[in-house]
């Protein structure tokens, strides 16, 4: 069963208002080619669900396509704050659902287990609970200890960039694994963009990380994570990230975006 479609067709799987989960982390193996096409289509009102928001996430925010972000870190790591996220979140122009590693990890695991919550340690005594009134506590029936009931999280669409996939969507992730398996399994629709597509799983060269049975569509996008990294195929393009930050510091996001959309 071939699920190969074009990038344009794949972006049609994202609808305005969707919870869009992006694979990879911050500046590593991000689905940048997919996001570029999404920016062209201007699909908006999105809730962005990510382990950590980074370069292409900041472009989506800067372009005004994001209503709400759900992530435990949004920045450019050693390259500093994510300029557009920082600006919009500071000015109230962006809703931030304050997540932590545990709210995301246990939230996805709850969905995987088919239940509404997972109990875990964390948050108690911090101010996170004050700004997350949707999070309830639960008492362990055995120890009587109060625990956080991390609520189930389910993306509408997951988009993951991988090094290699077969036509059916079985795929390997060679860099960090992030939450990609979990968003791919839980999302209602899952899109893979791949550096390279092979015919059969036997040609993948190792164990799969993503199971084709839960993948909706596969798109071949060589270089599709640039300027973020795609280990071991290409490293992070540090200079490009710096150029982006400096453009924003010059209040020049719009022309950066224009250049970015013109490139392929």
């Amino acid at each position: 069963m071939s699920k190969i479609i074009t990038l344009r067709e794949a972006t049609l799987l994202v609808r305005p208002g969707d919870i869009l989960a992006l694979g990879g982390m911050t500046l590593y193996r991000r689905p940048v080619a997919f996001v570029r096409e999404l920016l062209r289509q201007r699909v908006g009102e999105l809730t962005l669900l990510e382990l950590t928001g980074g370069f292409e996430s900041d472009l989506l925010v800067g372009a005004g396509l994001v209503r709400r972000v759900r992530t435990c870190y949004f920045g450019l790591e050693t390259f500093g704050l994510a300029p557009m996220f920082t600006r919009l979140a500071s000015s109230g122009g962006l809703e931030v659902v304050e997540e932590t590693e545990a709210t995301i990890a246990f939230g996805l695991r709850a969905t995987l287990a088919g239940v509404g919550f997972m109990p875990g340690q964390g948050l108690l005594g911090t101010d996170i609970l004050a700004v997350r009134p949707d999070i309830e506590l639960v008492t362990c029936p055995y120890t009587r200890r109060q625990l956080v009931a991390f609520p189930a999280l389910r993306p509408d669409v997951a988009v993951v960039h991988c090094q290699i996939a077969d036509r059916n969507g079985n795929a390997r992730l060679l860099g960090n694994k992030a939450i990609d398996r979990d968003i791919a399994l839980t999302a209602n629709r899952t899109v893979l963009t791949a550096e390279h597509i092979v015919d059969s799983p036997a040609e993948l060269g190792g164990e799969i990380d993503l199971l084709g049975a839960r993948v909706t569509a596969v798109v071949e996008t060589p270089g599709g994570a640039k300027p973020t990294s795609c280990f071991p195929l290409y490293p992070l393009a540090s200079l490009e990230i710096l150029d982006y930050v400096l453009a924003c510091q010059r209040e020049d996001f719009a022309s950066y975006l224009e250049r970015f959309l013109g490139s392929d």
Binding site: Y28, G122, F231
Partner: protein, 274 residues
């Protein structure tokens, strides 16, 4: 950044201080954007703590081998040298609560009891500055047995009497984090413990006076009775840091800000391309 009287930078000194907190056999965690900590871990591994295991937020992996620091190729060590790559939920839901590893956190704000803020400066709903977020700090500080902090640019903006937002638990008694002992902090000015549950100056770095540290701290500091100068890094530590572990001096980025930082980033990025 204080002037250093000897032939080393403050990031060399901080890396040495952090490395000395690592014991052989420890499982140590490196968070996001913390190259100074990474340099320190590698230093520990190459000196007194050969058997430490690294867990990395970036690589989502457990490693026992190492590679030199890199800006663009940060995955070369964390993925390329992995004993095993894990999914992030495995790390968060299983490995961290089970292993309770040692981690060095960099707070944007920290109060006298070691509570921290990495979420927002000012009012949460309309912040003066929205920060990237706390990652897993609000999770792990509720159950880690020990907490470690580092502050590369010591100042009243960071050391505050009251936090704008509490996204990490310190040693405040009574709360669910009461068992968590923030037992060490190193800044670019000195080293500290939390003896008595409150930040206490233990050593001041060469060229720095205790008075100047107090002046740059937003609350009264306790002072250890045997207060002394921070020991300098050894020649061998400096050789390792400069020649083997971090020849591009990526660790120093954390001590820089503004245009100096951007210029240095570009310099390193260009060096890595060549």
């Amino acid at each position: 950044m204080p002037k250093m009287t000897a032939d080393y930078t403050v990031s060399d000194l901080m890396a040495s201080c952090i490395a000395h907190q690592v014991n052989d056999g420890d499982v140590v965690v490196q968070g996001i954007a913390t190259p100074l900590v990474m340099a320190a871990y590698l230093l520990a591994k190459r000196t007194h703590a050969r058997n430490i295991i690294f867990a990395s937020a970036i690589g989502n992996a457990i490693c026992s081998d190492w590679a030199p620091l890199s800006l663009s190729g940060i995955e070369d060590i964390w993925v390329g040298k992995a004993l095993r790559q894990l999914t992030f939920p495995e790390i968060v839901c299983e490995y961290l609560p089970t292993l309770k590893p040692k981690e060095f956190l960099r707070p944007a704000q920290i109060d006298p009891w070691g509570n921290t803020n990495n979420v927002a400066i000012g009012d949460y709903h309309r912040p003066r500055l929205r920060l990237p977020g706390c990652g897993g700090i609000a999770d792990v500080t509720t159950y880690y047995d020990e907490l470690y902090f580092y502050v590369p640019r010591h100042g009243r903006a960071t050391f505050v009497k009251g936090l704008d937002f509490k996204s990490g638990l310190g040693v405040s008694p009574g709360g669910p984090g009461a068992a968590a002992k923030g037992r060490y902090l190193v800044s670019d000015l000195g080293t500290f413990d939390f003896s008595g549950g409150r930040l206490r100056l233990v050593t001041y770095h060469p060229g720095v006076t205790p008075e100047s540290i107090q002046a740059k701290t937003g609350f009264p500091l306790a002072i250890a009775p045997d207060l002394k100068e921070t020991p300098a890094p050894t020649t061998e530590e400096l050789r390792l840091l400069r020649q083997e572990l971090d020849p591009l001096d990526i660790r120093s980025l954390e001590c820089l800000s503004g245009p100096a930082r951007w210029a240095r980033l570009r310099e390193i990025a260009n060096l890595e391309l060549s």
